[in-house]
């Protein structure tokens, strides 16, 4: 084994420098053509030209929404205003997602460079990186990078001797998930309560300090310098018809190779999970992959071969989201999974609008009733009806997507919900009479002494006392223990 095996499935654009350059040394970034896109932009391109390149690249927002970045820039550029703003949304908050953190920790200059280019394109001279305070290392490296960029004159007045000046500031978020929603982010940035406001007006018209504001996510920005230097045709050659380029995913859950991957749009989940991700831990049965975090849904075996892009992933009942990918195996209880996400969203709701403030709480309570075996079939109807309403009438994206984990799992795993609703779900372990050899191992490990049986006789679990700890399951040498 003296040759290196190429992982041909991956292609890294946003992560191109991560792990390969010293993020605290601007020269390392310059060595790999860092700030060349900015120099070219300022020396050779008009703002309009820059916007056209981004538009023609068909780059779409990597924060999850998938809105065409070039159009967003154009909308902000065409507003007449004495001041405009560029904001980088680095308030990554989906459970299990860490794409943006890795980019900021590994290649902060690519984001800074892109923000300056965006500033030039839309006519902004001031930018903010809104980053969650829970990312101290990323904050540290960004601060260092900003200082270095200033010392090289890439930030400040008359960048590359042009008339263009741009300055950048970091703003730390106080840990509210909802501040990843752009209007809430802007409110927080202004020192107001971090809660969303109704759109329209969109930030491109009235955003930070009521001025036209362009908000893009970290990964979106990280793509920009490559697009500027390599051109929109190059970018268009990667990906699918409607989704160009690559997407970074954070693989987590019951997968062997937990980590970050970047694949061209159109890669199948099977490739991501089995080829890149190395398959399921302990070779267990794959059950589903959860994408899009608390706003997304689950994708099951039958759709593993779907080439993934913004549209296809929506068609199979989930969403791209920011890139979190949580792999679930046969042991995972789907009702518990949606309860986990609802616990998250009801806690992270800002509390402004009724459906999200009270609705997500009630959804969580219904799920709690179900999993406590205190629910009823009516609860299941109520759950679906309320989920639909919260989705339909909430004020912002958080509330509108909060019920997705429920709706998607009900759609795919209705029987699991019904088992709880009709209270037919087994909650205790049992012994398969045909397999038990009477070795007594199970009864010896049972912490509550609820397994009885003579040596070489079939053993029995007293279900009334079983606490479902699983000790017997692990101890049995012949797979005779039946899981709940």
């Amino acid at each position: 084994m003296d040759t290196v095996v190429k992982d041909t499935l991956q292609y890294r654009i946003a992560l191109r420098n991560c792990g390969l350059i010293n993020p605290e040394n601007i020269d390392d970034y310059i060595a790999v053509k860092g700030y060349e896109a900015l120099a070219v932009t300022l020396e050779q391109y008009t703002p309009k030209k820059v916007i056209n390149i981004v538009k023609e690249s068909h780059l779409r927002g990597r924060g999850g929404g998938g809105f065409p970045t070039g159009i967003k820039w154009e909308l902000t550029a065409r507003e007449q205003s004495d001041e405009k703003y560029i904001i980088c949304n680095a308030d990554e908050g989906d459970p299990g997602a860490f794409m943006d953190r890795s980019i900021l920790e590994g290649d902060p200059h690519s984001v800074i460079e892109a923000m300056i280019i965006a500033g030039y394109a839309i006519g902004a001279s001031k930018g903010y990186v809104y980053i969650r305070a829970e990312y101290p290392l990323a904050i540290d490296r960004l601060e260092t990078a900003i200082k270095q960029a200033k010392s090289y004159g890439f930030l400040g007045n008359n960048i590359f001797d042009s008339n263009f000046s741009f300055d950048l500031e970091l703003k730390l978020g106080a840990g509210a998930f909802v501040c990843g929603e752009e209007t809430a982010l802007i409110n927080s940035l202004q020192g107001l309560r971090g809660e969303p406001t109704k759109k329209p007006p969109f930030p491109s018209v009235s955003g930070f300090r009521q001025k036209p504001t362009n908000v893009n996510n970290v990964e979106t920005f990280a793509n920009i310098p490559a697009i500027i230097l390599k051109g929109s045709d190059w970018f268009n050659a990667i990906g699918t018809d409607h989704s160009k380029g690559t997407k970074v995913f954070a693989l987590a859950g019951k997968i062997n190779n937990v980590g970050l991957v970047e694949v061209p749009m159109g890669t199948t989940l099977r490739d991501i999970i089995y080829e890149i991700g190395g398959g399921i831990v302990d070779d267990k049965q794959f059950k589903a992959v959860q994408t899009g975090g608390p706003s997304g849904g689950v994708i099951t075996e039958e759709n593993l071969d779907t080439p993934i892009d913004y549209e296809s992933i929506r068609n199979i009942g989930s969403m791209m989201g920011s890139g979190g990918m949580i792999v679930l195996d046969e042991d995972d209880d789907m009702v518990e999974i949606s309860k986990f996400f609802l616990d998250f969203t009801q806690d992270e709701s800002c509390g402004k609008c009724t459906p999200c403030r009270i609705g997500t709480k009630r959804l969580y309570e219904i799920l709690e009733r179900l999993t406590n075996m205190e629910g009823s079939p009516e609860d299941l109807d109520l759950l679906e009806e309320l989920a639909q309403n919260v989705k339909d009438s909430s004020l912002c994206g958080l509330g509108q997507s909060a019920p997705n984990p429920i709706l998607s799992t009900i759609d795919r795993f209705r029987e699991e919900y019904e088992a709880y609703a009709y209270r037919t779900k087994r909650t205790t372990y049992a012994i398969d009479d045909n397999k038990c050899i009477g070795c007594t191992k199970c009864s010896r490990v049972c912490p509550v002494d609820c397994i009885t049986g003579e040596v070489k006789q079939v053993h029995v679990i007293n279900e009334a006392n079983c606490i479902a700890c699983g000790a017997c399951y692990n101890a049995c040498p012949v797979d005779a223990i039946i899981k709940p």
Binding site: A176, E348, C353, G359, E385, S393
Partner: protein, 580 residues
């Protein structure tokens, strides 16, 4: 193009550009239920946080439902207000609110005036599908004026709009998140610990019983039933043009005579008029103004009748406490005179006299409790009831208010002029003061009594009144946000007014925090204002210094206006506060 073609429930119609879907539907004869929405546009007060999601409608090609209160119409818009999807969503959202609301309607202060309650009826809610945890916050009884029950808060944020945007007091704002989100002072401080002015505008707009005035009715009943006390009552100018609304009378009905009769039937021993106090205030305040102009005192002089305004300046502009007039407010002047001069007249010790005030105001409750507004450890005013509380007492006593014969106030604190009547509206105090100051300064009789230039509902107004060789420059602000603008101008040396009138509530006392609920209907406030000016017009004497009983009071007891005894009884001082 100022008109747009839209469709409402399939029917085409033309509407004005710039209106909301809610307004368009209203024009189409469709009533869409609302909760958080509040529109008092003429005061610049619009609450469109679009948070309650009760007014949602379907818009063609929109993935989600849209709040009609905050969505503007556009050319070619197709609105569906009556689809099952929209109706179900409204019901669903209301049920959610109700599932987190204490079912105390029968004993709630807002029973039958609660907008959430009316909405439940309107949407035909007979059953609530959801059960679960309810909010469980302690009720804040800390202040003398306002009771805050967070468990009844529906997060409509109207109070926040009033407190922050309109009044710029900044006490109330969203606290915590998710299910625990509630409107409260920062750090969930008690109201008493904040710089709340108790203006009561939060109470005036709260759709539920989350913010209400402190209920002082039981205490007043208790005192009334104790025959050892001589019960004196006074009624503020703005009460008489609003109380009738609680008994089905049209807004702007004047019910002064019925009020007097009702108070006698409730068992009060003497029924006085705060308007007497208003005339007395003018005697002092006009003198003070003339004194400040002639002796080079601090100018401008700001009025001091409004307790919320006084508290506002104490907390927000503590270095400007030399600008308000030192005059006590009319209610405390009446209280002070009742417990001294009147007590002597009826030969009773002061402590045996209890003074009750009927006020359009919530802040007056806190004012009555201020320690400096007392003499020999007896507060000038013992109990202050809002117009609403008074209405409830009348109902409780089974008095058919509409059928009551008119009665007359008792002497001598019952006599008043038209100048006093207009104290109830923005611009009124300064107009009353100008009428008297004019004659004081010139010695000539004032021919044109109506100073139209001082009237209206504009937030900040100014006028120059020529008095002899003096051009008296007058400023008027109502609403504390407008007051702040004027104060900042004064601070920056940009304003050269002689006198400024400030009232904390939009519209003045007619729009006070203690008045019958207007539920966002601006026409009610306008009708009350018109009634106030009608009273003035129909009163034989219209200048405070022509109030014979006030003059008699000076002659018999006080001596000179702005003199030593008057200072002792009728003037006060201010205390620096903090901004919290």
């Amino acid at each position: 193009m100022n008109t747009l073609n839209i469709h409402v429930n399939g029917r085409p119609m033309m509407v004005k550009k710039g209106i909301t879907v809610l307004e368009a539907c209203h024009q189409a004869g469709i009533k869409i239920p609302t909760l958080c929405h509040l529109n008092l546009e003429e005061y610049g007060i619009v609450n469109k946080v679009a948070s309650c999601r009760i007014c949602v409608v379907e818009i063609e090609n929109r993935a989600t439902l849209v709040p009609s209160c905050a969505e503007k119409v556009y050319e070619g818009m197709h609105i569906k207000s009556d689809s099952l999807r929209a109706i179900n969503a409204r019901r669903n959202n209301l049920e959610l609110l109700l599932s987190n609301h204490p079912f105390e309607c029968l004993t709630c202060t807002k029973n039958l005036t609660c907008e959430l309650q009316s909405l439940a009826e309107e949407l035909n809610i007979r059953d609530i599908s959801f059960t679960g945890k309810k909010m469980d916050y302690p009720i804040d009884h800390s202040s003398e004026a306002i009771v805050k029950d967070p468990n009844k808060c529906v997060m409509c944020r109207r109070c926040e709009t009033m407190c922050n945007d309109v009044q710029t007091v900044g006490v109330l704002s969203g606290l915590r998140r998710g299910f625990d989100a509630v409107v409260a002072p920062a750090f969930n401080l008690d109201m008493l610990e904040t710089s709340c002015t108790y203006c009561g505008q939060c109470v005036a707009v709260c759709p539920t019983g989350a913010l209400t005035e402190r209920n002082d009715v039981p205490r007043v009943w208790k005192r009334l039933s104790n025959k050892n006390y001589h019960m004196v009552v006074q009624v503020a100018p703005a009460v008489r043009v609003a109380l009738g609304e609680m008994f089905g009378m049209a807004p702007g009905s004047i019910s002064t005579g019925k009020i007097v009769t009702a108070l006698r039937r409730l068992g009060f021993d003497a029924v006085f008029d705060t308007n007497f106090g208003a005339d007395l205030t003018i005697m002092e305040e006009a003198r003070e103004l003339v004194h400040r102009i002639e002796e080079g005192g601090t100018l401008p002089m700001l009025t001091s009748c409004c307790p919320a305004w006084v508290k506002f300046i104490e907390h927000q502009f503590p270095d400007m406490l030399d600008v308000p007039s030192t005059c006590k407010s009319p209610q405390t002047m009446v209280g002070a005179i009742a417990k001294t001069y009147y007590a002597e007249k009826v030969n009773l010790p002061s402590k045996q006299i209890k003074v009750v005030s009927i006020m359009p105001c919530v802040a007056k409750k806190a004012e009555s409790a201020r320690p400096e507004l007392s003499k020999e450890n007896l507060h000038h005013v013992d109990y202050t009831l809002s117009t609403r509380e008074f209405g409830h007492m009348i109902k409780e006593a089974g008095i058919e208010f509409e059928a009551l014969p008119d009665g007359d106030f008792d002497n001598i604190l019952g006599e008043s002029t038209g100048a006093a009547a207009i104290f109830g509206t923005t611009g009124g105090v300064i107009e009353a003061a100008t009428r008297t100051a004019y004659e004081l300064l010139t010695g000539d009789p004032l021919e044109h009594i109506d100073f139209e230039e001082l009237r209206g509902l504009e937030g900040v107004r100014e006028a120059t009144v020529t008095i002899g060789d003096l051009d008296l420059k007058i400023g008027i602000a109502h609403g504390l946000g407008n007051a702040r603008k004027l104060l900042e101008d004064i601070k920056a040396g940009k304003a050269d007014y002689h006198a400024i009138e400030i009232m904390a509530c939009p519209g003045g006392c007619i729009g006070g925090g203690g008045q019958p609920y207007h539920h966002g209907d601006m026409s009610i406030i306008k009708a009350r204002q018109k009634a106030i000016y009608d009273i003035d017009k129909n009163t034989p004497r219209r200048k405070s210094h022509e109030n014979e009983m006030v003059l008699k009071l000076y002659q018999d007891y006080l001596g000179d206006p702005y003199g030593e005894k008057a200072h002792d009884l009728l003037h006060t001082c201010y205390t620096k506060g903090e901004r919290i």
